[in-house]
């Protein structure tokens, strides 16, 4: 005979505003099998949990139903409380009367009636719940970090320093990411390279970090604690063991007119190149797309059109015939730190975006973006840190900075605020004024968003001490006018149209996730938002976790992030990973599928539909021990409890623990009033 307790939470006013919680308790007290029903303001709080624990002990309960929020939110909380009171946690269920009821209804009477129905339904289910035991699975204590920017480097170092091996995968030829391109960083103006390069070297030399540059994640199998990750090592055409980084090959390469990615297109590089002098590893890569030899091979030339780099290399490290190779790594946890790209104002745009025709579609040479300005201001940049504009190398005496280009612009770009632009534009005006003392720095802005430690002071300093002219209003047009760049803006504070004859214009273009993020997200079974940023499991309480257990997020792959935030997130993911690695085994929810071998007909429909590859074949033997057939077996470590196999089994031989037919029919019957 069931002895069930029902506990109704007010959730402050979230539920009680629309649902009469007292009435629900009263109604449930009358329900067969219910021995106690109570309501309370915050059931998840300590007094609320104590109330449940006491009721379990006092009434010798066999099941508990908590009428509150979604089980995603607090099922774990209440199951833990019940377990502390000596009850098997899997006889505790939640009836969702918040998301499914109070939040979506207005009529108090009807909402209360629905809450009562919902509670009764779950009570009927719980009558059929059986005690289950958590599954324990082994954990591979090695982490994969995807992306070698500041977030990825930090996460890798923190995990490795915590004593575990890390595989760091970077798709470019060097780690360092966007931070390596920056000149100085806000709000302290310390040199980006000076604080970053030691970390890059540390990551490279760390005995527990295995670095794969010029590599990408190809395939991810498995589950938390037991991932199997295939990594594509793109053909570098340079033998990493032989190369000593002397740079002779780069000097010998005759194709020297290729836009440098590192200098954001402001300088040229050869086809075989090290992205920048401080690259880690300090080893070139051959850009096969632009290489004369490979162009010739693609055209089908009988003889190679070039071979200068190979001729020059004393180490014999150049390999024109190498192909992409694949390595598989066994991994327990994954940190995604793929970072960002900048919105491009050009005419060609991905679906849903438009370029900025009114700003010349990026065709005016002295209209550049924020990263290009960083390169111009950087001592390692194409001008050696001298402030010279791209078109004619002249020193710009008037520079206009335009904020929110592509950001907060649902029509042409993204609706969100890119967050970092207010700060880096303030920094740009300072860097500019420090280099060109008699220059004008004019900023067109909508708002100055400078929330952060020392941030507002920093942006005020740009105005008050360095003399940046801030004009509140968006810019309508930018066009080339002789050797000037005309900027048509408006000052909404002084109510006048403002036309600036600029020498250079810097557009603070929006922060977007990296191209290819969608494919990576699918490989990892991680969801992403409409803009392509990866979704965290909970915006407040689980900000670096994803809905896929064992996959964590650091830096700008999740939303626009500045350096301090990226580093903080990286540390947080490391804490999560180290926590996971702190035990040899991992507890798993026992809601997995189970095959009845006596009735299984061995059709393996389940195997075809299982998204996790959890179905295995088991031999069936006759009396003499000869194999006479096969049946399906569900690997409980792999099964995620989705129930797809249950739906397709023609002989009804699979059941999902916690969601058996008995339980589901009991719910339906309760709801239908049968």
């Amino acid at each position: 005979m069931s002895r069930i307790g029902v506990f109704i939470c007010h959730c402050g006013e979230n539920i009680a505003r629309t649902v009469d919680c007292g009435a629900v308790a009263e109604a449930l007290r009358e329900h067969p099998g219910v021995v106690v029903a109570e309501d309370y303001k915050y059931m998840c709080s300590d007094p609320g949990q104590q109330l449940i624990k006491k009721a379990i002990a006092d009434n010798d309960l066999t099941g508990v139903v908590v009428c509150a929020c979604s089980p995603h939110m607090h099922e774990k909380t209440f199951r833990r409380a019940a377990a502390q009171a000596g009850l098997n946690p899997f006889v505790v269920e939640m009836a969702n009367i918040r998301e499914h009821c109070s939040w979506i209804h207005d009529d108090r009477g009807e909402a209360t009636a629905k809450a009562i129905d919902t509670a009764r339904t779950i009570v009927e289910k719980v009558k059929h719940n059986k005690p289950l035991q958590t599954i324990r699975i082994p954990v591979t204590k090695r982490a994969l970090v995807i992306g070698g920017g500041i977030a990825g480097i930090q996460a890798a170092l923190d995990i490795a320093d915590g004593g575990h091996e890390v595989v760091l995968v970077e798709k470019e030829a060097s780690i360092g990411g966007h931070m390596s391109q920056l000149s100085e960083t806000f709000p302290t103006l310390d040199c980006s390279q000076c604080i970053l390069t030691p970390r890059m070297v540390e990551a490279y030399q760390h005995p527990r970090i295995k670095l794969y540059t010029w590599s990408e994640v190809e395939k991810v199998d498995g589950y938390i604690g037991n991932f199997s990750v295939t990594i594509r090592r793109k053909a570098r055409s340079v033998d990493e063991d032989l190369c000593n980084g002397c740079g002779d090959c780069q000097a010998a390469c005759p194709s020297r007119r290729i836009d440098s990615e590192f200098d954001a297109g402001l300088s040229r590089r050869p086809a075989i190149y090290t992205p920048f002098p401080q690259a880690v590893p300090n080893m070139p890569v051959l850009d096969r797309e632009h290489c004369t030899l490979f162009k010739g091979r693609r055209k089908g030339l009988a003889k190679d059109a070039c071979g200068k780099c190979k001729e020059t290399c004393l180490k014999g490290a150049i390999d024109y015939d190498g192909q992409d190779t694949f390595v598989t790594e066994e991994i327990g946890a994954i940190v995604v730190a793929t970072g960002f790209q900048l919105y491009d104002i050009g005419r060609e745009q991905p679906a849903g975006l438009k370029g900025y025709g009114e700003y010349g579609y990026g065709e005016v040479p002295d209209v550049i973006d924020g990263l290009q300005f960083e390169r111009l201001a950087s001592a390692s940049g194409p001008t050696g840190g001298e402030m010279l504009r791209p078109s004619d190398g002249a020193e710009p005496k008037t520079v206009v900075f335009v904020k929110c280009v592509g950001s907060r612009d649902p029509e042409k770009g993204m609706s969100y605020c890119s967050k970092i632009c207010c700060m880096y534009t303030a920094k740009h005006t300072m860097l500019y004024k420090h280099k060109v003392h008699d220059g004008r720095a004019v900023v067109f802005y909508m708002d100055i968003r400078a929330a952060g430690k020392g941030y507002d002071e920093f942006s005020r300093r740009a105005i008050e001490e360095d003399g940046a002219e801030y004009i509140r209003g968006r810019v309508s047009r930018i066009f080339r006018d002789g050797d000037k760049v005309k900027v048509w803006g408006y000052d909404t504070l002084s109510h006048r149209q403002v036309v600036v004859d600029a020498d250079m214009v810097v557009l603070a273009t929006a922060v977007r996730p990296q191209p290819g993020i969608g494919e990576l997200a699918q490989k990892l079974s991680v969801s992403y938002d409409q803009d392509g940023f990866l979704n965290e499991a909970h915006p407040k309480l689980r900000p670096v976790e994803t809905n896929t257990a064992g996959v964590y997020l650091a830096g700008a792959c999740q939303a626009p992030r500045d350096i301090p935030e990226s580093v903080a997130m990286a540390g947080a993911t490391a804490a999560k990973v180290l926590g996971l690695f702190s035990a040899d085994e991992l507890e798993r929810d026992p809601s997995v599928a189970l095959v009845d071998e006596r009735t299984c007909i061995g059709c393996f429909n389940c195997e075809h539909v299982c998204p996790y590859g959890a179905i295995e074949h088991r031999d069936v033997c006759d009396m003499e021990g000869h194999v006479c057939g096969h049946v399906a077996y569900v690997n409980p470590g792999v099964c995620q409890g989705c129930g797809t196999c249950v739906a397709v089994c023609p002989s009804k031989s699979v059941e999902l623990a916690g969601f058996t037919d008995d339980q589901v029919y009991a719910e339906i019957n309760a709801l239908a009033g049968w």
Binding site: R347, Y356, G357, E358, F479, R480, D481
Partner: protein, 317 residues
Amino acid sequence: MTLAYYPGCSMHGTSREYEESLLAVAAALELGLTEIADWSCCGASSAHAADHLLGVALPARNLALAEAQGADEVLAPCAACYNRLSGAVHAVAEEPGMAAKVPEVLGRAFANSVRVLSIVELLQGLAPVIEERVAARLEPNPLEHLNIAAYWGCLLVRPAAITGFDDAERPTGMDDVISACSANPVSWNMAVECCGGAFSVSRTSSVLRLSRAIIEDARHCGADAILAACPLCHANLDFRQSAMSLRGEPPMPVLYITQLVGLALGLPMAALGFERHFVDTQPLFARLAREAEKAAAAAAERDAAKAARAAAKAGAS
């Protein structure tokens, strides 16, 4: 496919040369335009400012007439008419209640089945034909020396939901037509900025300010002339030009797009209405003709020298 023709009021008045050149080009290209019988004014810039429904109903009457005539497409060469007609199609299709309200107000059936075509779309589609005809002409071609700035104004590109056949900020269709005519499109900045439009009469000072900026930028960017596809723009840039203080620069001729195509097709200037312009186009065309002759002479000289060298070589061997 039947192409109806909606001239609009200006074509019978201040922009007569636009219609003359359009009809001459249409005849030369065998377009078969059928004028909408008993068409009425589209309401232009005044109706929509007074009453939204009137701004839809006035152009819709003409679309209904075109439908009744069995047309699938209506050519509206005047940019203002094009915008109003196209806007009516859009409003009736998109705005709730309009599809029922408009026939009621018109007192006639209206299925909103006609597509409105701008002159640029029409000529852009014919660019290969024009190019072919230009290539077939033998005499020295003065247009090859013409640098011309395509002026779109507002009504052919905005609002994009109504126009939408080209990029609203950096459209290219008129440049295609210029290239097909063997002339050189100029890259400039004022292609889609407003000339002052309908304020020509009621607030001339604003028109002078705005149109002057357009002419100055065209000159600054190396244009010999401006190409227009709108009677209103043409009036502001051509008729009002003498009132602009243009700092002693020579006047800037303003051509209709159909006049340029007519010239490219070899039609006589008299048939294209150039004499109706306020800014005299003769000095420009005289200069272009001289340049063409000079270039032809230079080419002939080069050919002769080449032939002589070839002959000498043949003789030597």
